[in-house]
Amino acid sequence: MIKKLMFLGLALATVSMIYANSRITIKGSDTLIRLGQRWAEEYMKQNPGVVIQVSGGGSGTGIAALLNGGTDICEASRDMKEKEYKLAEKKGITPHRVSVALDGIALYLNEKNPVRELSFAQLKGIYTGAITNWKEVGGQDARIIVYGRENNSGTYAFFKKKVLNKEDYYVYTQALPGTAAVVNAVSKDVNGIGYGGIAWAKNVKFVAVRITDADPAVLPSAETVSNGTYPISRDLYWFFNGTPTGELKKLLNWALSEEGQKVAVDMDYVPLPKERAIAQTMQ
């Protein structure tokens, strides 16, 4: 009898342990997926019993999954569009947005290029084809070779919106698959210019960017992106359905904590400024 009771107790304990297991799914942006996976690994190590599944597919895919109830957390490198907010309302979902890290888009030049800084107007001119010679922006008399990304890239869309004011890219813009290819092309091309993440730069130099001629030119770095002085930067978001509670809240607070943000730094992402991280932490 006692044996039976013990067995029953053991079985009950096992069952309750399985139920105590929290399953969390994270889905979305390919820009954020590496960080999301690293966060999940660390968090699972510290909290055995929690299972976190992370997958990519792009910001749009993640947002669609959130609206369909297919994921607990949606990772996105952009805010939701008005259309998506309306759709969420219709589906009875209240998106809750939290910035979890930052991302800066740097402009790369060949190390031999004498140009040091460019304004938004000059960048727009170069990338729409209005400016085609380096001497128009203070460089040598040579044709500007423009490199960019394929049109399915989030960086392509972000750069187009932020710098080109949604105008079309110059037809001579060479679209390369991936930031590494852009960096490699610019490092070999004296007259090349390209854009991409800060952490990717190798054998190329950064351009200091100013918004208007009156503003100071700022070089991209983790620090200038973090404090908001570098102009071509964006927030990377986590979206929840409603304010997160329970395990989700715990995970979010951990990601925003000093420890979580340090993981971001180790992965070459730009951490949030401390005040912003604290302000977003859930009580």
Binding site: G60, N152, Y156, V171, Y172, Q174, N184, K188, D189
Partner: protein, 319 residues
């Protein structure tokens, strides 16, 4: 002693065997038909769906369009623009430029190699050359693309001083490397299969080896050589990875071969991954797929027709 005799009871086996083999052939036929049908099915909304047509109708794909008021009409491929632009003309120009350079590079190399290997090379030399060239076909195209992107592009730019590192010449030569073995193999096979009697007749009339190969073997093998070139051209049009990596992917219309290009195949490969299912852009990409399929189909078919005509002329009933 065993009698050598075919037993009548093996007949049903032969029947089954024959049916099995013809079923295999039929599967290949069916596969081609179904692939075409399914690709075309996704492209049909261009002709029927008025919502899609507003964004991408057939005349928007083919004709010059005025996209903004006060600006001249033009051909433009900018599918992710505020005003999506789906002109296929820049892509067609890019595809043909790359294929042209590839053939300019591969046809002389392939045919020349075939002539040497089948006519002049010693037996040992021939047994070395043939497998090595054919091994070129076994190199994955992504490796050839990587080579063109990293090594060939730098070499060509340093040698010829191209403004654009990645251009149609660079992509075309990369493509040519993939086309050479096709041209070589088909041409070489057709030259070695020219009957011994023709060579003997020419030699008996006093022709030296040069004259034998140029005046007798080459004309007789011409159908095979042209078939090799046509097949190579088909490959050059459809090959994707090399042009995706080495061409610069800028949809430019120009006659300058030193400009970057964007081809049909690379456009599908680069853009299909994140396109919204069923959208105008999606439909246009499948339309491109349909066109690409039809291109290669017609090229191969016309090659075959020319081939059989030439065969009749040079070899009589010997096909």
């Amino acid at each position: 002693m065993q009698q050598l005799q075919f037993k009548p009871k093996s007949k049903w086996r032969e029947y089954l065997g024959e049916k099995f083999i013809s079923a295999n052939a039929l599967v290949a036929l069916l596969a081609i038909f179904l692939i075409f049908a399914f690709i075309f099915k996704e492209a049909i909304p261009i002709f029927t769906d008025s919502f899609i047509q507003e964004e991408a109708s057939m005349d928007k794909l083919i004709l010059k369009q005025q996209y903004y008021e006060g600006r001249p009409a033009k051909f433009s491929w900018q599918p992710n623009s505020e005003v999506p632009k789906y002109s296929l003309f820049p892509l067609l120009v890019g595809t043909l430029k790359a294929a042209f350079i590839a053939m300019l590079f591969a046809a002389p190399l392939g045919v020349g190699g075939a002539i040497y290997s089948s006519e002049f090379a010693s037996r040992r030399m021939r047994e070395l050359i043939k497998p090595v060239i054919e091994m070129l076909a076994a190199i994955p195209s992504v490796v050839l693309g990587f080579f063109s992107l990293m090594v060939l592009a730098t070499f060509l730019q340093n040698t010829f001083g191209f403004t654009f590192r990645l251009n149609s010449i660079n992509a075309g030569i990369g493509l040519g490397l993939a086309v050479v073995p096709i041209v070589f193999t088909v041409a070489e096979d057709s030259m070695t299969s020219v009957p011994r009697s023709l060579r003997d007749a020419a030699t008996a009339l006093g022709a030296n080896p040069w004259q034998v190969s140029l005046t007798t073997v080459l004309p007789a093998a011409l159908p095979g050589i042209s078939a090799g070139i046509v097949l190579g051209f088909g490959r050059a049009i459809g090959e994707t990875m090399i042009v995706l990596m080495a061409s610069g992917n800028a949809a430019i219309i120009s006659a300058n071969f030193a400009d970057s290009i964007r081809t049909f195949s690379a456009t599908i490969a680069a853009e299909l991954g994140e396109v919204v299912f069923g959208s105008g852009h999606y439909t246009v990409l499948f339309m491109i797929g349909t066109l690409l399929f039809m291109f290669t189909f017609i090229i191969n078919l016309s090659g075959d027709l020319v081939l059989s005509k030439l065969k009749e002329r040079f070899q009589g009933k010997m096909s």
